[in-house]
Symmetry: C2
DNA sequence: CGCGTCATTGATGTGCATCAAGTGGTGTGG
DNA sequence: CCACACCACTTGATGCACATCAATGACGCG
């Protein structure tokens, strides 16, 4: 998201990033119950955020890659309500939230930027609700792949090739499916020459077919 | 949510509410594609927000009652991405967003308040994702009823009695179920003396039973 | 090289959707 | 004021998509 700032403002922004943190693959950036310190911007690496309930339910709420912001859930109650786990070795910028608020008051562009980030997250989650509430397995996986590849492409990667950073189980948890269903659906796509799949490696051979699948609600209206 | 403000700040806050709007039952407060003007605080009445896709899918993303804020989805792209529909005659306060940002810069308590509202919405949606992604029909409906009655209770209504403002179909859309399933699940709860249901009227006879149902994931861990 | 983790694939089961009737409450016009 | 129409709701019969259970296969790491 581009923000237009003066040089003066930019130098203020530098002050925002208090520290950097390195997170090993499999390690937690923060977890449910942790005191909220600030927001995190992913510099390198790949994360998942997930809710874990007392009764053992586990829901992946999102996957985050370079440039994306984590930690917004902690603002309401000064405590995080989910876990952030690195799926590969990663680096994040730590931005203490009181500093963000302070600077936001001085730099309107930053203020608006923060609001947009939060609103974007809300809209993203609306999309996930639609997916979880009304899509079938194939539609969910197709939407997931398209979203992933689109975000990777925006970062300079291929539009058609990707290496999944997460397991089938994590994909399933995000999509509200069991890992076997995710695997079977991958195989089905492969049979239909829509994708090539070899473990974590995925090559999309027919993007339009995926798009058609996403919008195949047996549309009546 | 309590905000602590000085008298001076309070008088500034008055300036926030530009206008009031009355919405007839069934009418739209805003809809997908509308230019984002500001946030809305529900004064009286009851709303649903829902996504409608081109291919005819329809997902209710939330129900809003007095004191709750609508319109956050419009901030990112200056356009709303969902519809807000009044389920009964309603009144809302209109708060132009540029005024909110302006005042936020002067009144840190307001600034923080806005951040908390947005964060709270993100956390709420996490909960819905968990519900849609991993709960069975009975668990979903139990969670829904508990949430509704809890919010009503916080507004001075009964802890055990409520009148639903929405149809079975709208409940189903929110919970990712078909209306028949919602109806059957109500009947099942009634058979088990957990609730009394007569059309829109619901009386909860055993709150703990509902709570037990919500946490009955066949917990292994 | 062997063990643990992740992935694939098959057989079977089940929860919810779908299809279909029928009921009750509400608003409207004769 | 009643008859009719409409809509929301309920309930039953059937089907299907995905879950579950189970076995095997492919990596990757110590």
């Amino acid at each position: 998201m581009p923000v237009h700032l003066s040089d003066d403002d930019l130098s203020k922004l530098d002050a925002l990033v208090a520290t950097q943190r390195r997170i090993k693959r499999g390690a937690l950036l923060y977890s449910n119950g942790d005191v909220f310190a600030g927001l995190y911007a992913v510099r390198t690496g790949f994360f998942k955020t997930c809710l874990v309930t007392e009764d053992g339910r586990d829901q992946v709420t999102g996957f985050q890659m370079a440039g994306e912001i984590m930690g917004l859930d902690g603002i309401v109650n000064d405590h995080h309500t989910c876990d952030a786990v690195a799926l590969e070795d990663a680096e994040v910028c730590v931005m203490p939230f009181d500093r963000i608020e302070e600077l936001s008051r001085e730099v309107p562009a930053l203020q608006n930027h923060v609001h947009r980030i939060m609103s974007r997250e809300i809209v993203r989650e609306h999309g996930v609700m639609l997916l979880l509430g009304s899509m079938r397995a194939e539609e969910r996986l197709a939407a997931f792949l398209l979203n992933l590849v689109q975000r990777l492409h925006a970062r300079g990667f291929s539009q058609s090739e990707l290496v999944l950073r997460m397991t089938r189980e994590e994909i399933g948890s995000y999509l509200g499916l069991k890992l076997e269903t995710v695997s079977r659906t991958f195989s089905k796509f492969a049979d239909e020459d829509i994708v090539e799949v070899k473990q974590r490696y995925v090559r999309i051979r027919d993007t339009d077919a995926l798009r058609r699948i996403v919008n195949s609600s047996t549309a009546e209206a």
